[in-house]
């Protein structure tokens, strides 16, 4: 026993001593040296936004975990943003780490448990569910100006009246893309028109409609289109065993088995590949691929270029407009940031900087995503581009994705049901019943 403690403390002591001496690694925890803000002129270059108080002195080494990867250039955009901020405030440096969305959530939770969480997150809205349940992130109402955000975007990260995130990009909605060569120029007005167009295109190795048949995210718009929703009024009781769900399941089933306009088996990559190769007339995919699909056909990562059409999912015959979920990418701050006033000021300032109009317009230009800043979304760069306008129209028909903890159970239950459906199971009542019971037992265990 004694030896173990001695060994442990010896190792710990050594580790701390040597850790402090190692070069080049910035500490992931809040900086030890932060002096109280001095009165008078802020240090360093003038910042982009006028701050009410003097910018804190001292060095701030911030860690930011981002879900954005390098493949679509979004990680590079993150880097550009943080570099720009460091150029304005040289005493603030960033350590940027990329993690896949699920890994980011899991690792952030584990890191918070150990008190080792990163300062800032760039992640998806539905993470506020688990993070607020476990009390891991900071409320932002007093730190940023909500009025500068697109209302629907701010709604997506508001829970119980509190704002938990700052919108970077907004959208994430599923919409209809079509290949004009195969599907015609105009958007189909109703689902009957849509199916008819798909049928005439579904020949000779081409498919009519491609979409990810393996995840519940693609079921959701149709559930909404038939008048249903995943939760009851209280926002936590699942309502999956409803007529609306059965109609939605039937609609999707018909696409694949009755009308036969879909591929035999398609996950995300298969559908994406088919559309990019020009073998699919329509694809249901999210706004995040707008950049890739609209790329010119002769570039390094060829897209459809001018042949691309974009718009909301067509109105369902016998129902309403489909209602895809809207989310986006948001900045969040970990709870520990609130413990240090200066750190909090710096982080809040960065968030406001990242969401200002210029940087938001930049996101539109670089990544082809809809911005979260209210001024930016009115900018001609959005309204003047037919593709972006189509995407914006689609976004406006969507509903905010629930962000509470129970949503994970609901997503998983629906995914199981969707996969069951696409193996050819047409017992819609049975599927919706098992979705309901699956989510109920999962929620009960939370």
């Amino acid at each position: 026993m004694k030896n173990r403690y001695r060994l442990a403390s010896l190792v710990a002591a050594l580790a701390i001593v040597v850790g402090a001496c190692s070069t080049g690694s910035s500490s992931p925890t809040a900086p030890a040296a932060s002096q109280p803000a001095t009165s008078g002129a802020p240090s360093g270059a003038p910042s982009a936004e006028p701050t009410e108080m003097a910018f804190p002195e001292g060095d701030f080494a911030l860690t930011m975990w981002t879900k954005e990867g390098e493949a679509d250039g979004s990680f590079q955009f993150n880097k550009k943003l943080t570099d720009a901020y460091t150029a304005l405030h040289p005493n603030v440096t960033f350590e940027l780490v990329n993690k896949n969305v699920e890994v980011l959530r899991e690792d952030f939770q584990t890191a918070s448990l150990a008190g080792d969480a990163p300062h800032i997150l760039w992640t998806v809205a539905d993470h506020i569910g688990p993070f607020t349940s476990a009390d891991l992130i900071l409320p932002l109402d007093n730190l940023v100006d909500r009025a500068t955000f697109v209302p629907a975007a701010a709604e997506a990260v508001t829970a119980d009246g509190t704002l938990w995130g700052v919108p970077m990009s907004f959208g994430n909605q599923l919409m209809l893309y079509w290949n004009k060569d195969l599907a015609g120029d105009a958007a189909p007005a109703t689902s009957d028109d849509w199916i008819a167009a798909a049928k005439s295109a579904h020949t000779g190795g081409n498919v009519g409609i491609a979409f990810n048949q393996t995840e519940s995210f693609w079921l959701v718009p149709f559930l909404g289109g038939f008048g249903g929703s995943v939760f009851a009024e209280d926002g936590v009781t699942p309502t999956l065993d409803t007529d609306a769900m059965r109609s939605a399941l039937e609609f999707l089933y018909d696409l694949k088995y009755t009308e036969q306009v879909t591929p035999a088996e398609a996950d995300y990559d298969v559908a994406d590949g088919l559309f990019k190769e020009g073998k699919a007339a329509f694809i249901i995919n999210g706004d995040w691929t707008l950049g890739a699909y609209s790329a010119p056909p002769d570039g390094e990562n060829p897209g459809l270029g001018d042949k691309l059409g974009v718009g909301p999912l067509p109105t369902l015959t016998g129902g309403e407009d489909p209602k895809p979920y809207i989310a986006g990418a948001f900045l969040m701050a970990s709870k520990a940031v609130g413990d240090d006033a200066d750190l909090q000021t710096v982080v809040a300032d960065f968030m406001q900087f990242a969401s200002n109009k210029d940087n938001q317009v930049d996101i539109v230009q670089t990544l082809k995503r809809l911005p979260g800043n209210a001024e930016a979304i009115e900018d001609p760069i959005v309204t003047g581009d037919p593709l972006l306008a189509g995407a914006a129209e689609a976004a406006q028909k969507g509903v905010p994705q629930p962000t509470n903890l129970e949503m994970r159970c609901v997503f998983d239950a629906m995914t199981a049901g969707v996969r069951d459906l696409f193996t050819g199971n047409n017992d819609f009542a049975g599927i919706s019943a098992s979705m309901q019971s699956g989510s109920e037992s999962c929620i009960a265990a939370l």
């Binding site: 030896n3 173990r4 001695r6 060994l7 442990a8 010896l10 190792v11 050594l14 580790a15 040597v18 190692s22 070069t23 080049g24 690694s25 699920e102 899991e106 939770q109 918070s112 448990l113 688990p130 349940s133 476990a134 009390d135 891991l136 048949q213 393996t214 591929p263 035999a264 088996e265 398609a266 996950d267 298969v270 903890l405 994970r408 159970c409 998983d412 239950a413 995914t415 199981a416 996969r419 696409f422 193996t423 098992s434 019971s437 699956g438 989510s439 037992s441 999962c442 009960a444 265990a445 939370l446």
Partner: protein, 341 residues
């Protein structure tokens, strides 16, 4: 890859070795004083020799196990997201044996119960180990003779073992793709329809088994080849003179003499297959609950659903099951007797 990063990496590992060396030296120093100077016992040498290993194990395995045991009596989860302290008594997180009871009575994740998972895991283990041993035995018997190209065959056949598992699994997963994967393309070339490997529960299970068998046969083959080499040819010559055919000599000579080698390998193989988190995780990717085995459900419970208390109890249940099996099997076959002498 910058010079900075390279230097960092080397620094880190150099640091590691130094820290470990100092720690071990300190440990040994303390033990020396205690055992040699203090107690003057002749047990000093062996104890000092095994000390680093066991201290390391105590810190890195025993402590986490105790932590998990502690958590298993609490309701630590995303709603109660803090270190429970001792049995959660202070923060009102204590739930007694509730978690253990719930392991058996409630669906583990969404719909699947513990018993179904246990059945799936046992099926998974038994089928895999049987195929591993059978396949390994067959290949070893084929290779255990003078032949040309023996070295090349051996080298190629152990490829599945040599390739990093993460990579092999990613490759296999894409081969199960309905349209573009090799599995269905080959089936179609042979005139059959493609099979929905990734979406149908039954076929997904088969897919996992196929992959795991591919991964595991080389190991068994190598072990058995080694065992075959140690069987004296005198036995076979005597059997031949008595008129035994090859099947009889296999059953009477080869199998019994292989047993000392085979039994530990089977025990290990069973335990590893039972606890194999890689194959279901990467082939299935958390998609089909029917393809979960006990340990993947455990991982999801802990990391996807953050039900730490439940997961800790679940983990202990799995551990006990394996422990009982191993003790039972080892006692019954007496296979490890020699090691303890």
């Amino acid at each position: 890859m910058s010079l900075d990063a390279v230097v960092t990496a080397i620094q880190q590992v150099g640091l590691t070795l130094i820290v470990i060396a100092i720690a071990v030296a300190a440990l040994e120093g303390v033990l020396y004083l205690l055992l040699v100077r203090g107690l003057k016992t002749r047990l000093a040498t062996p104890l000092m020799l095994v000390a680093p290993a066991f201290v390391g194990l105590a810190i890195l395995i025993v402590y986490p196990l105790l932590w998990e045991l502690n958590v298993s009596f609490t309701n630590m989860s995303l709603r109660n997201f803090r270190d429970p302290g001792f049995l959660g008594l202070e923060n009102g997180m204590f739930v007694g044996l509730d978690n253990y009871v719930e392991v058996f009575t409630r669906p583990v994740l969404q719909l699947t119960t513990f018993w179904q998972l246990l059945l799936q895991t046992v099926l998974w283990t038994v089928i895999n180990v049987t195929l591993h041993v059978a396949g390994g035995m067959a290949l070893a018997l084929l290779l255990h003779r003078q032949m040309r190209g023996k070295g090349i065959y051996r080298a190629l056949i152990i490829l599945p073992w040599a390739i990093p598992q993460v990579i092999a699994l990613l490759i296999w997963r894409t081969e199960y793709n309905n349209e573009y994967g090799a599995a269905n393309q080959l089936l179609r070339m042979a005139g059959f329809d493609g099979v929905p490997w990734l979406s149908d529960p039954f076929w997904n299970f088969i897919a996992m088994i196929i992959t795991n068998v591919w991964l595991g046969i080389p190991f068994m083959m190598v072990i058995i080849l080694g065992g075959l080499s140690s069987i004296s040819s005198e036995y076979y010559e005597a059997a031949e003179m008595d008129g035994a055919n090859s099947r009889q000599s296999f059953r009477a000579i080869t199998l019994p003499l292989l047993r000392p080698v085979l039994t530990p390998a089977i025990i290990l193989g069973t335990v590893w297959t039972f606890n194999n988190i890689n194959v279901p995780f990467f082939i299935n990717q958390n998609e089909l609950e029917t393809s979960d085995i006990l340990v993947t459900a455990l991982f999801r419970m802990a990391f996807q659903y953050n039900r730490y208390g439940d997961a800790a109890a679940f983990a202990f249940v799995i551990f006990i099951i394996l422990l009982v099996f191993t003790v039972f099997y080892v006692r019954r076959t007496g296979s490890l007797r020699g090691a303890y002498e």
